[in-house]
């Protein structure tokens, strides 16, 4: 722009003309506008910073809440699946040592330690091991035999707190399960009931018979027929032998 007095060059930022000293009328206007722009800029900048600070605070809070909720859900899911996770871990452990367990089961079965076999099978959760499935029938027989023995011996204990009728009931139930598992079902693999396993089941049947004769006072001929008798008939014979049932 040109000075109105002397015509020399003037910039908008010159307050007076450098040549003639005449006041620049545009300078004041420019200065006001610059002030206004500055003020608007500062206020907008402040607003933007305030908003972004606010959003940052909101984001942080939402993140904290989301993390806490996620952790809560994860702990609920883990708690609900604790058994499944434990089962999976045990299954892997058992599968890795199945040969060692198989040898132990064979040793115990061969030496006739049926109660020890049942305890070992339970302790190591060997029902999870597919490779040891052939011991299913023998294990069931040993486990139910152990229960039968325990209840029969409790009946000999006069100091036992459990009512005799209840113990007799438990004993009869265990006998039922024992005899049921001795019989090969249609879909049971034959190897469950062959060789040493067959001999084991026969030995257990014999031992139960002698125990019934000695401690339930069952006559020899009736004790021999026990596997074929009905549940009710077995109960009658046991109660008769123990002097509870009267004809």
């Amino acid at each position: 722009m040109k000075c109105k007095g002397c015509g020399s060059n003037l910039s908008i930022q010159d307050e007076v003309c450098g040549s003639c000293g005449l006041e620049n009328p545009q300078y004041k206007k420019h200065r006001e506008e610059m002030r206004r722009f500055r003020k608007e800029y500062d206020s907008t900048r402040e607003a933007v910073l305030r908003k972004s600070r606010h959003m940052g605070g909101v984001t942080l809070r939402v993140t904290i809440i989301a993390v806490l909720v996620t952790l809560i859900l994860i702990s609920w899911v883990l708690a609900a699946n604790a058994w499944n996770i434990g089962y999976f871990i045990r299954e892997r452990q058992v599968a890795g040592e199945w040969e060692k367990h198989g040898e132990m089961l064979h040793t115990l079965e061969e030496s006739g330690e049926y109660f020890a076999l049942a305890a070992y099978y339970d302790e190591h959760s060997l029902y999870q091991c597919e490779q040891l499935e052939e011991y299913n029938a023998v294990y069931q027989a040993c486990r139910n035999y152990a229960y039968c023995y325990e209840y029969l011996m409790q009946l000999q204990n006069e100091d036992d707190y459990t009512p005799r009728e209840d113990t007799i009931g438990y004993f009869c139930d265990s006998l039922d399960y024992l005899y049921e598992n001795m019989v090969q079902e249609e879909y049971d693999p034959p190897e469950w009931y062959e060789g040493l396993h067959k001999a084991t089941l026969e030995q257990i049947t014999y031992e139960i018979r002698v125990l019934l004769m000695a401690y339930a006072k069952i006559p020899a001929e009736v004790a021999g027929q026990f596997p074929e008798l009905s549940t009710g008939r077995r109960l009658v014979e046991i109660e008769r032998g123990l002097g509870i049932y009267e004809d």
Binding site: W76, A79, G86, M153
Partner: protein, 141 residues
């Protein structure tokens, strides 16, 4: 305005409490699962209670479970186990004898004789076992 300011800390506080409780529940669930996996181990005190009640079959069951779990056999356990094994052998000694299976009865008698010196202070149980099973003497059958 005040309520709005307090809302976030309150929510965080509640969620934190819920998280701590959930964590405790989770730990309890895994602890319970671990205990189940470890199996049931019978301590000497439990055995003594069973012996006091003449519940020898329970002692026998506890012995087999402890052995399966690999519980270390201390001197205390050995005495208790001797009583359990004596009871087991005595029960079969009588049963085989009455059934006429003398060979098996003699085998069980040998087990009984082997356990007596191992019972230590628990040897008083022999008489009680005989009384319970109805064994008058070794020659009872």
């Amino acid at each position: 305005m005040k309520i709005k300011k307090l809302a976030f800390p309150i929510v965080i506080g509640i969620l934190s409490v819920v998280f701590v409780v959930s964590l405790l529940v989770c730990v309890a669930a895994f602890w319970s699962e671990l205990s189940y996996a470890r199996g049931y181990v019978t301590e000497p005190d439990s055995f003594y209670y069973s012996l006091q009640d003449s519940d020898y079959s329970r002692v026998l069951d506890g012995m087999y479970r402890n052995k399966a779990a690999g519980v270390e056999e201390t001197a205390e356990y050995r005495e208790i186990y001797a009583v359990a094994l004596y009871f087991e052998a005595a029960s079969y000694y009588k049963a085989y004898g009455e059934a006429g299976d003398i060979a098996s009865a003699e085998r069980e008698k040998a087990v009984m004789e082997a356990q007596i010196p191992l019972m230590g202070e628990l040897s008083y149980a022999v008489e009680d076992i005989h009384r319970q099973l109805g064994i008058v003497s070794f020659e009872d059958t």
